[in-house]
């Protein structure tokens, strides 16, 4: 975990007040209280993505929550799909697995 100063040093064009605002908005979910935020790897990657969305893709801050909300839904679904996949993997027979695969490939 890293502090907000180190985070801003790692990512070009990032100011501490931006990050603080994003944490208050819950776009970034840091650990700790204001003034002592700690950032996990996932938070750092998320901040980097937000910076790219803002600076490179020119998504302004009004539109950012829409983009982040959709992304969070996308990744939540992907995690669910993964869990579903591994649950199926652990519970169904080889035959069922094969017919499932065929069905998904549109062959059955």
């Amino acid at each position: 975990m890293i502090s907000i100063e180190i985070l801003c040093a790692q990512i070009g064009g990032l100011r501490p007040e931006d990050v603080e605002r994003w944490v208050v908005n819950r776009w970034v979910r840091a650990d700790g209280e204001a003034g002592q935020y700690r950032f996990h790897d996932i938070d750092v990657a998320r901040v980097r993505l937000i910076v790219e969305l803002r600076d490179v893709m020119q998504v302004n801050e009004d539109a950012l929550p829409v983009v982040l909300g959709l992304l969070d839904q996308l990744y939540a679904l992907r995690r669910q799909m993964r869990r579903l996949g591994s649950a199926l993997d652990e519970t169904i027979s080889e035959d069922a697995r094969r017919s499932l695969a065929e069905k998904l490939a549109g062959r059955a």
């Binding site: 996932i42 998320r46 790219e52 992304l71 990744y75 549109g106």
Partner: protein, 308 residues
């Protein structure tokens, strides 16, 4: 690496602002965090980023234009993207809505259906799709398994299916009822119902392939003197001749009285194993045995004693 001007789709004399615009446009399209699992987008984004890295730096761009450096000089180490973390389970930190990444049972059907529909759409638009096969099990009586029977099966959704069990079906055999499974999508045909057959044991009959085995009790006099008795078979009672000098364990075979014939398979046999049963006390028999002088020299436990 490819020509960075081509990668960004700009002219050799493009102004810095044009290069920035081109990069922004391509980044929006191919950013890998917005296209997880899309290898092509990831590769494209990488080359777009390196091209921009090179051309956005006036000094590097000039050296590239003079041929002093090649395009790969601009590559920089890739950081792990957000997708890398967001795909892991601990990313529930950024779950959508209040319940995070929890798997709520209610959404299961919705998600499942959508997933299948969208996968299908990916492979051919609004394609018709066959319904899923559904699995059931049905347990029938032994005699029904021999003779065949029609059994009513009530499905979880309240539908009933009349299952015509053919004669001679075996334990664990699966019957396929075409079109009785899950409904198809977009007018596709319904799936099949697959019914696994279980067979309850019979108190007396046992099945061995196409033959049936039965232990047949006989009286002492039927065994000693022989005679005609009636024996049950799956096809109804039949008369059996017990030969004289039979004993417990004597086997008789009734040809064609086992499994009924099917197609080119001939009917099986009924194997009877006799079992002598003395029945209630018989004073006359007792008197005879007591007065009998010369017992034949026979030891029924001889083999037993030798083996021990």
């Amino acid at each position: 690496m490819d020509d960075p001007y081509k990668v960004l789709g700009v002219a050799k004399d493009a102004k810095p602002e044009e290069i920035r615009q081109a990069y922004r446009k391509l980044a929006k399209q191919h950013h890998p965090d917005l296209n997880p699992d899309n290898k092509a987008a990831e590769e494209k984004f990488k080359s777009v980023s390196s091209a921009y890295e090179l051309l956005s730096d006036a000094e590097k761009r000039a050296r590239y234009d003079r041929g002093e450096i090649d395009a790969s000089g601009a590559e920089k180490p890739q950081q792990r993207g957000y997708r890398h973390y967001a795909d892991a389970d601990r990313a529930a930190r950024y779950g959508a809505g209040a319940q995070g990444a929890g798997w709520s049972g209610g959404s299961f059907e919705d998600l499942f259906g959508d997933v299948f529909r969208s996968r299908n759409a990916g492979s051919g638009g609004n394609a018709r799709m066959r319904g899923a096969d559904e699995h059931y099990s049905l347990t029938i009586d032994f005699l029904d398994s021999i003779r065949g029977a029609t059994q009513r099966l009530t499905l979880p959704d309240g539908r009933t299916l009349d299952v015509k069990v053919p004669p001679g079906i075996e334990q664990g055999q699966i019957m396929r009822l075409r079109g009785q499974g899950g409904p198809g999508w977009n007018g596709g045909p319904a799936g099949d119902a697959l019914i696994e057959i279980g067979i309850r044991e019979h108190p007396y009959f046992r099945r061995e392939g196409r033959n049936i085995r039965l232990e047949l009790p006989v009286t002492l006099s039927e065994a000693v003197l022989g005679g005609r008795v009636t024996a049950p078979t799956p096809g109804g009672p039949v008369n059996v001749t017990i030969p004289a000098h039979s004993d417990t364990g004597t086997e008789l075979r009734l040809r064609g009285r086992g499994m009924p014939g099917q197609g080119d398979q001939p009917a099986g046999d009924l194997h009877l194993t006799l079992k002598v049963v003395l029945g209630p006390p018989d004073p006359a028999l007792e008197a005879f045995l007591r007065e009998r002088k010369a017992e034949p020299g026979f030891d029924p436990r001889g083999a037993l004693m030798e083996a021990a």
